[in-house]
């Protein structure tokens, strides 16, 4: 498997090109399509079989229309329609393959209700759910608690060597986030303080 990150000026987001050694190509979150990204696709795999959407926000989907016009890939997302294109809907636990790549879907709502994390081998593509040192923004305490609960139970339980490819910012590993993610550490300390106050 090859994973190539690309920085998009649209929403300052990361776009990922993933391919197997039979040149099946996947784009994760097509934020913006520029000539560098197109050259990358052409030189690495020369085709695009699928686009995976982590969630429906503009900063992660703005380039989908261009991708569809050039390559007509299948689009996978939690929602049934993204930017006017119908998708193959995924749900928590969905598993599908693109070439030799086996993709598992982990639904972690909170940042948005349609947020999913894609797991391919030892790598996870987290969108806005989890970034290096922080978690996704939320609109309310309830959504924040939902997001943290999902991250703690579904992502932090993965192997520490699992590589994290977030929608924004630098790469990381689960082991690093367990030790150094301040939003998770803060929530943990607030919770333990709350528990001791109740005693």
């Amino acid at each position: 498997m090859r994973i190539i990150p690309h920085f998009s000026a649209e929403g300052l987001s990361n776009v990922y090109l993933v391919s197997d050694y039979q040149n099946h190509g996947i784009i994760i979150d097509p934020a913006n399509v520029d000539s560098i990204l197109l050259e990358m696709i052409e030189s690495v795999c020369g085709r695009l079989d699928a686009v995976l959407i982590t969630h429906k926000h503009q900063a992660h989907t703005a380039g989908l229309g261009t991708m569809m016009k050039i390559y007509s890939p299948r689009v996978y997302a939690y929602e049934d329609e993204i930017c006017g294109y119908s998708t193959e809907r995924v749900r928590d636990g969905s598993v599908f393959s693109v070439g030799d790549l086996r993709i598992e879907v982990i639904h972690v709502p909170g940042h948005s209700m349609d947020s999913v994390v894609y797991r391919i081998g030892g790598a996870i593509f987290t969108g806005d759910t989890l970034s290096s040192g922080s978690i996704g923004s939320t609109h309310s305490f309830v959504e924040r608690a939902l997001l943290i609960r999902g991250i703690e139970s579904r992502l932090m339980t993965l192997d520490g060597n699992t590589l994290i490819y977030p929608g924004h910012g630098p790469l990381s590993k689960i082991g690093i986030e367990r030790m150094l993610n301040q939003d998770l550490l803060q929530f943990e300390s607030e919770n333990s303080a709350g528990r001791s106050n109740l005693r």
Partner: protein
């Protein structure tokens, strides 16, 4: 991209050494593997897809303009190494120790140095963007004249270190200890020091 296959040794979750079914630590010929990687680092212009965890390297001198891509050097020790004019792309150097090393005029993107310790190490005149320095420990280092755009130094301990003349736009220092750190000619006002600013 290095292989994400797990080591065949029972209970080991580390990634395999390239071309092997075991990780570096569980390989019977560790010294041979380590010296092979050392030779590649010193002589090849494109070093890719290596995964070697917990090895020690001394006096590495990659050739000028060499490129390390899609590799994993977690928990390695580097002593007296000169990484000048090196390009590092999407590679992992987390929890490493860099002692008396030089990174001059390097180009690093999507690199990970989290949890690493930098002692008497110079990172100078480099472009180091989208790079993860979370939880690093840097003492008596020179990190001046660098572009650290969108890099993350949160929860780090940076002591007696120069960060002068650096681009710190969107650089995060959230909850970091910066003692005796000079930001002269840099733009810390564009960096993040608290969660609310991000």
């Amino acid at each position: 991209m290095f292989s994400l296959e797990r080591c065949s040794e029972s209970g080991c979750r580390a990634y395999v050494f390239p071309g092997s079914s075991r990780c570096y630590r569980h390989s019977p010929d560790r010294e041979q593997l380590r010296s092979g990687v050392e030779k590649r680092l010193n002589t090849e212009s494109i070093i890719r897809d290596i995964s070697i965890v917990g090895a020690s390297f001394r006096s590495i001198r990659p050739i000028s303009g060499a490129r390390i891509t899609g590799s994993n050097f977690s928990f390695c020790c580097f002593e007296d190494c000169d990484f000048s004019s090196l390009a590092i792309y999407a590679s992992f150097f987390d929890f490493c120790i860099f002692s008396h090393c030089t990174f001059s005029s390097i180009d690093a993107r999507y690199a990970v140095f989290s949890g690493s310790t930098f002692i008497d190490t110079e990172i100078h005149g480099s472009t180091i963007i989208h790079t993860n320095f979370m939880g690093i420990d840097a003492e008596r280092c020179d990190f001046s004249s660098n572009d650290f755009y969108y890099s993350n130094f949160s929860l780090s301990r940076i002591v007696s270190t120069s960060m002068e003349d650096c681009n710190l736009k969107r650089t995060s220092f959230r909850s970091s200890i910066t003692k005796g750190v000079s930001f002269r000619y840099s733009n810390p006002e564009e960096a993040y020091f608290r969660r609310e600013e991000q």
